[in-house]
Amino acid sequence: MSRNITLNINGAQHTVDVEDRMLLSDAIREKAGLTGTHVACEHGVCGACTILLDGEAVRSCLMFTVQAAGHEITTVEGIAPAPGELSVVQRAMQDNHGLQCGFCTPGIVTSLTAYLRDFPNASDDELKEALSGNLCRCTGYMGIINAARQAQKEIQGSAK
């Protein structure tokens, strides 16, 4: 069955016809045309499709699109504070070579954004645990962990 629903993505309203079974990740990519949300495992293991749903990091491949109606969706394209700028996490990823091929990067940016907002004082081991839900095949994670540390410092600094 198909429904007409409105999705609020990055502050913009997208009115779309979707089948009940359509995954949110597919709707974001195909209906809203936001291809920054990547699909790599299709069943919630790799974290590449992570988005923020009302601010919480969720895997968009594990949700139906219809479940997201009425909620505020933020994809990697909506993470930066303003067009053309980078968020603290995005800049830290660039500065610390936290990416190579970059396929996992959007999911890491969204996951870390939510985690560091909620746990700005996380320990190194807790940061690693937070990142352990996002697979990266290129970097060996060290650059990503360094990025998380840099972003954490900046967030702590701006909170003072």
Binding site: H38, A40, P106, S123, D125, R137, Y141
Partner: protein, 754 residues
């Protein structure tokens, strides 16, 4: 791709940042899976459910009748060569009479939506006569089973016979080693978009690949088109690691596009990806090492069996790498080696980072530890005593002409401080079992292990894998053109660094990476820094010479008295004559350069010959904690010193080192495609385990910088060495912690505790 970078600081030797990092962190970088075209169809592949079967009939009638289906193709619809392959053209574009592995492509469909395609695939009836699969490589060697392919079951045999064949050492150790099948597991699955030319006279393909020109050649042959009618453009690549060296959906997507006269997009699911590309060869390796009682290696005997699966891919080259590297980075005069790459009905295997040397290294490093034990000396000393040097000869008779700082790599690694011991304060996440709280901290045992390796760089056996680059300078800006696949390794960072350094200009653009220029060869074999770096360097130097000549002519100076220094053209006394920006104002200079490496030769029947181009070395020391009750391992630290020739970008280099180490860790303790009677049992990221941030060890890396006289920039390839000897180092550390003689990777919990 158009890249503009800002500052002078991004020259060679600096940690220039990736120019594509900004679009990648913003989600704006277009991966091949993100491509889209007006009026586009989707393509999909029906694959064999059997490891080995005869195709009795294929009935596509019902699929054609489904609304939205535009095209259904079988082997009868391949207009050109019915097969493809990197070395031997032995793999059918679409299966005709037999399917030889689970997942082999049989029928293609194109439809208006992926779901239409899925319905169409389900409607196709293929009648199979299921046959008993050949899954034991030994049966391919002893010829006890009829050939499963017209080319036979033995893909290649290569012996190496050198020196005294009856020599027996004072100390003799032997072992049987085994490696499981590893997957490259790039995150971005195979994807391509094919755009047909009007009238079907040609096709343009946007694809994630490692080697545009090789793909083009194979595609053109299968399509029966001239090569210049097939144009390839690099689609954004989500990792490669060897898995994109072979053809996957390239020919299929072009066939569908040409037949329907519409753009066709294909993209594999994760499960399909496990069947859609080649894997690392599983191997069984027997080795016997002969040494003096004080530990000097005299002779290596080895028997190497690599399971190539159903089609040849690069198996013959992988085998050559394995057999020519069995001695490791150690002096050895005498050798008796017998190697086989065989065909079976297991999944096809080919290139993966380390390419045959990973397999050899796991065995030879196990042997070095056995030798150390038998001689009563330490794992470090046994490796130092035997460490190879420049001028030494390999068991193939080839002399190592490259820098070979093996002992230095070992010593520098040994100097790296050990990690702190576990204490009561150690976070539970940092011990084996992690938050599962399964380990009793007092019972956890720590172990230390070593691995050292040699890796050939570039292609071997007479292959001229040249690279081409064009440098154009106009109005103080540089644009670079090449066909070098950027798969994440960072050539798009390095190439502008080279241009800035040579030309003294800061603004560097990279033109679209496509087949609109000569081949760059493959992004594999740790070769692009050397080869495409050499090509970019060569093209930029030609342009620099032209700029200097122009300035000399205008000013009536002798060009030999001028050179570029920083951003200026300076005279012999170092005084600036003119800035390069000013000198190129309103002018255009353009040069193309082809870089070729030193020629190599074939191996003779005794495995003698100068078959490799160059070599790089690395040492790894692993520290692990093991819970002996449950067999769970936490890799605590990897210390490494790598022979890199010269550091061109410290940040980028560290990324290669850390990433390679994580993949080597995966092979050591986590990753295996489990194949039972030809059937893949775990084609998903739930069941094929990849290292996470919690599994990744602390990596402490040092670089040994002895510029290589043969490398155009003094720098060696760095991509593969990090993943090679880290695997045996981790396994040695587990042996050290547990006392269990582990001879197979990945090491599973039951191998330790049962």
């Amino acid at each position: 791709m158009s890249v503009k970078t800002r500052t002078r600081r991004d020259i060679l030797g600096t940690s220039a940042l990736r120019p594509d990092a900004v679009p990648k962190v913003q989600g704006k970088f277009a991966f091949s899976s993100d491509l889209w075209a007006e009026n586009m169809l989707w393509g999909a592949t029906l694959r064999s459910p059997h490891a080995y079967a005869r195709i009795v009939s294929i009935d596509t009638t019902a699929a054609w009748k489904i609304d939205g289906v535009e095209c259904v193709l079988t082997h009868e619809d391949v207009p050109g060569k019915p097969t493809y392959g990197l070395i031997a053209s032995d793999q059918p574009v679409l299966a005709r009479d037999f399917v030889r592995y689970m997942g082999e492509p049989v029928v293609l469909v194109a439809g208006d939506h992926p779901e239409t395609c899925r319905r169409a695939l389900a409607a196709i009836k293929v009648e199979y006569e299921v046959l008993e699969p050949l899954v034991d490589p030994e049966k391919s060697i002893d010829l006890s089973v009829p050939p499963i392919h017209p080319d036979g079951n033995l893909i290649r045999r290569q012996q190496i016979i050198r020196g005294d064949q009856s020599l027996i050492g004072e100390v003799v150790v032997e072992g049987n080693y085994e490696l499981g099948m590893q997957d490259q597991a790039f995150l971005g699955t195979e994807a391509a978009l094919a755009l047909p030319d009007p009238g079907g006279t040609g096709v343009e393909l946007y694809v994630a690949t490692q080697w545009l020109h090789e793909d083009r050649g194979q595609i053109a042959a299968c399509l029966n088109l001239p090569e210049d009618k097939v144009r390839l453009v690099l689609g954004g690549v989500g990792g490669a690691f060897g898995a994109r060296e072979d053809i996957s959906l390239q020919v299929h997507s072009c066939l569908l596009a040409l037949r329907t006269s519409r753009p066709v997009k294909m993209q594999y699911s994760r499960q399909e990806s496990f069947f859609g590309h080649v894997h690392r060869h599983p191997a069984r390796i027997w080795m016997r090492h002969h040494a003096t009682k004080d530990g000097r290696l005299l002779r290596v005997e080895a028997r190497v069996v690599m399971d190539g699966g159903a089609y040849a891919s690069t198996s013959s080259a992988v085998l050559i790498n394995a057999v020519t590297h069995v001695q490791g980075p150690y002096k050895c005069e005498h050798a008796t080696v017998d190697g086989y790459a065989v065909r079976t009905n297991n999944p096809p295997c080919g290139a993966m980072r380390g390419f045959g040397v990973v397999q050899a290294c796991f065995a030879h490093e196990g042997q070095m530890d056995k030798l150390a034990l038998a001689c009563g000396i330490s794992p470090v000393d046994i490796r130092l005593i035997n460490a190879m040097e420049t001028g030494d000869r390999l068991i193939t008779g080839q002399t190592i002409l490259n820098s070979a700082p093996v002992a230095q790599c070992i010593r520098e690694t040994a100097e790296i401080p050990m990690p702190p011991n576990m204490t009561n304060d150690t976070d539970v996440l940092a011990i084996p079992g992690g938050s599962g709280l399964t380990a009793t901290p007092s019972k956890i045992r720590r172990g230390i292990g070593w691995g050292v390796s040699i890796k050939n760089l570039m292609y071997s056996e007479g292959f001229d894998d040249f690279s081409t680059a064009r440098c154009t300078v106009e109005d103080g800006r540089v644009s670079l053109k090449f066909a070098t696949s950027e798969v994440g390794q960072g050539f798009v960072t390095l190439a502008p660094q080279i241009a800035r350094t040579v030309l003294g200009l800061d603004e560097v653009f990279i033109e679209t990476i496509d087949t609109g220029i000569g081949s760059a060869g493959s992004t594999s074999a740790s070769r692009q820094t050397w080869m495409s770096g050499g090509a970019v360097n060569g093209a930029c130097k030609l342009v620099a010479t032209n700029i200097i000549a122009e300035v000399a002519k205008m000013r009536g100076l002798d060009p030999s008295t001028l050179q570029i220094q920083g951003t200026d053209i300076v005279d012999l006394s170092g005084n600036a004559v003119e800035s390069v920006v000013a000198a190129t104002k309103g002018k255009r200079f353009s040069e193309t350069y082809e870089f070729h490496h030193q020629p190599t030769g074939e191996l003779d029947e005794n495995g003698q010959g100068d078959c490799h181009t160059a070599f790089a070395f690395v040492a790894h020391r692993a520290v692990v904690d093991v819970d002996p009750d449950l067999g769970l391992v936490k890799v605590v630290q990897i210390a490494t010193a790598q022979d890199v020739g010269r550091v061109l970008n410290p940040l980028s280099l560290l990324g290669q080192v850390e990433g390679g180490i994580a993949q080597g860790l995966g092979l050591a303790v986590m990753e295996e495609i489990i194949v039972e009677n030809g059937r893949v049992r775990n084609p998903s990221f739930t069941d094929y385990l990849l290292p996470t941030a919690l599994d990744a060890p602390d990596v402490i890396a040092r670089y040994v910088e002895v510029p290589d006289p043969y490398a155009p920039l003094g720098a060696k390839g760095v991509g593969e060495p990090p993943c090679i000897s880290v695997t045996p180092a981790i396994v040695a550390a587990i042996r050290d912690a547990t006392g269990v003689d582990l001879l197979r990777v990945p090491v599973r919990p039951q191998d330790i505790c049962l």
